[in-house]
């Protein structure tokens, strides 16, 4: 019950924002328009899912932005020039993520520090790979990202697939349940004989995997990479998870919400440019709109709280 309610808010925010965008710019209400509105949200959605995997086990990842940048650099160079080597590097990066998860748990390190440190490391590797912007997207990724399915644009299809697949994986599957349990009550999981180290490594590994997908998607859209290409994703992804109804601790996350949160963030940017504000205030308006979207939630979460209070007496 409660879970369903949690997901209603993000959906509502998105719907309101989409309505506003359509009102300001009716042209957006088309196959072409929807694709333009949402296609750059696909890599953000993937990065948000990656962040969600980490937040699911009560950690936070400050390196996802630089990691996606690093992946983008690998994709635009090695994966394009020597696909096998490129794939091996990306696989190693995922393993590195999993290893970090294990290390963080075994040595009881604060994840925020380790990932902060890793953000420098990934950033450094990216700069080494591409000191200057360049590289090229492998053709197949480019094709995949620009394919035009009938009726519904690729961006929307991709978001639905991402949301659906991760929902099945995290919310429905037995393994996903265990992963969320680590966030809810790690001790209980350990007491039942599960290896929390392995589970944490798994969650981090999944984050790495979705980070890799995000980077590849991004290059598919931009056609080339640079070392700073996705720095913003760190904050965007955290904001996306929260907008989607996730919480920092307690394993309370929602993959569908996360994807919707990412879409909302992307849409908020578009909404602003349709408003044609003075450049002085365009940056401030980004803040204002975030505040507004979250304030809309307030009305509903107030009601939600009352409802819960009434229920629990």
């Amino acid at each position: 019950m409660n879970n369903n309610f949690r997901i209603l808010l993000p959906i509502l925010s998105l719907a309101v924002l989409l309505g506003a965008v359509f009102y300001l710019q009716p042209r957006a209400m088309s196959y072409f328009g929807l694709n333009l509105l949402f296609n750059l949200a696909v890599p953000i959605a993937l990065a948000t899912i990656a962040q969600m995997m980490i937040m699911m086990v009560n950690d936070i990842d400050l390196s996802i932005g630089t990691f996606v940048s690093f992946v983008a650099c690998v994709t635009a160079t090695y994966l394009n020039d020597t696909p096998l080597l490129g794939a091996a590097i990306l696989a190693a990066a995922i393993l590195a993520y999993a290893g970090l998860g294990a290390l963080i748990h075994v040595r009881q390190l604060p994840a925020i520090v380790v990932t902060l440190g890793m953000s420098f490391v990934w950033g450094g590797l990216a700069v080494l790979l591409l000191p200057s912007p360049g590289g090229a997207a492998p053709g197949w990724i480019r094709t995949l990202m620009t394919v035009k399915p009938p009726f519904v644009p690729m961006a929307v299809v991709a978001c639905v697939i991402i949301a659906g697949a991760t929902h099945l994986l995290i919310m429905r599957s037995a393994t996903g349940t265990l992963l969320r349990a680590v966030g809810g009550n790690m001790q209980a999981v350990a007491r039942s004989g599960w290896s929390v180290t392995r589970l944490k490594a798994g969650a981090y590994g999944l984050a790495g995997l979705f980070g890799v997908l995000s980077g590849m998607c991004l290059v598919g859209l931009t056609t080339s990479a640079d070392a700073n290409i996705a720095l913003r994703y760190t904050l965007l992804s955290i904001a996306g998870v929260i907008l989607g109804g996730g919480e920092f601790v307690g394993g309370r996350v929602s993959p569908v919400g996360a994807v919707i949160g990412a879409l909302t963030l992307a849409l908020a940017g578009s909404f602003l440019s349709f408003m044609r504000l003075s450049p002085d205030w365009q940056i401030g308006a980004q803040g204002a709109i975030l505040i507004l979207v979250l304030a809309v939630r307030l009305v509903f979460s107030r009601r939600g709280r009352k409802w819960r209070e009434a229920k629990n007496g």
Partner: protein
């Protein structure tokens, strides 16, 4: 006739004086053009962080809004190619300047950043024929402009082998970052004879060197008013001489006129170059007088200037 055409400026960063001067020049020239009925709109759009992804989204939104031309200072020469291609496919004229894009369908108003780096060393060679030790202050790692200017400086050092770069730091094009980085590396460096910069970091370097109690070397400046003022004061006090060079923020207005010309049906080559703005010992007072306090030396371009630049390129 372009009186019903709408032109948009897509800018990826507003967080420094250079970009602010650029936006102001744009507003000044653009508003005038709208008033005069030359174009229907000249709107400026800016994103918060210097990020290609955000700018790509912005360009896509501009496409949706149906602008006829997009003037672009790009966050990345390549990472926007996808969005730029989409714009071209939608029949929109794309003109990039300062931060140019490599997508062939777009126009480029380029500054020879490499030459800007090389000339700094050349100037130092004219001042210090015996050569000496150089400190290089770079910009933001991984950004095109930084790499280009750096390459130019390296080329200059090759050309004038009497110079050696003994230290290199990243100042991220921010005064305080440069000051901090220079202060950190100075203690381990020998005597410095010259400082080569990327613009806007000279004042910070001068401060750090002064704080370390060293003699001020020849610091190549970047046209910031505070730098030039410092330079003028040092000149009056002790005859300090140096050179200052940077790209003028007003280049955006040149791009505006180029876009207007393309929309007007004029035949414009895809690649145009503009000279960067150089301030020498002789022009210092004059430039300083015309630069608002705390801003950047600037020139704005007119339709005639644009036509001249186009004609030159043919």
């Amino acid at each position: 006739d372009t009186s019903d055409k709408r032109i948009a400026l897509s800018n990826n960063y507003a967080g420094n004086s250079w970009r602010q001067a650029m936006l102001q020049s744009w507003a000044k020239v653009g508003d005038k053009a709208v008033e005069d009925g030359i174009v229907a709109a000249a709107d400026a759009f800016t994103t918060s962080e210097n990020q290609a992804t955000e700018q790509a989204a912005q360009i896509q939104n501009l496409i949706l809004q149906g602008y006829d031309a997009i003037v672009l200072n790009a966050a990345s020469p390549t990472a926007l190619n996808g969005a730029v291609k989409e714009a071209c496919d939608a029949g929109i004229v794309v003109v990039s300047f300062d931060g140019i894009v490599t997508e062939p369908c777009a126009w480029r108003i380029a500054v020879d950043f490499k030459e800007m780096g090389r000339q700094q060393v050349e100037y130092l060679a004219s001042r210090l024929p015996d050569g000496g030790n150089l400190l290089e202050i770079r910009g933001l790692a991984g950004v095109f402009v930084d790499d280009e200017i750096h390459a130019g400086i390296e080329q200059g050092v090759e050309e004038f082998p009497q110079f050696e770069i003994v230290g290199s730091v990243h100042g991220d094009w921010a005064q305080d970052v440069a000051q901090k980085a220079v202060a950190g590396i100075l203690p381990s460096l020998p005597e410095i004879d010259g400082v080569v910069t990327q613009g806007g970091d000279g004042y910070g370097a001068a401060q750090a060197i002064k704080a370390a109690g060293r003699d001020t070397p020849i610091i190549v400046m970047g046209n910031r008013q505070d730098e030039m003022k410092w330079w003028a004061e040092a000149r009056d006090a002790s005859g300090y001489e140096t050179l200052s060079l940077s790209i003028a923020p007003g280049v955006g207005t040149l791009a505006f006129w180029v876009a207007q010309q393309v929309l007007d049906g004029a035949e414009v080559p895809k690649d145009l170059t503009v000279p960067f703005l150089t301030v020498t010992q002789d022009t210092l007072d004059e430039t300083l007088a015309s630069t608002p306090e705390g801003s950047v030396a600037n020139v704005e371009y007119s339709l005639e200037d644009a036509k001249a630049v186009i004609a030159d390129a043919k």
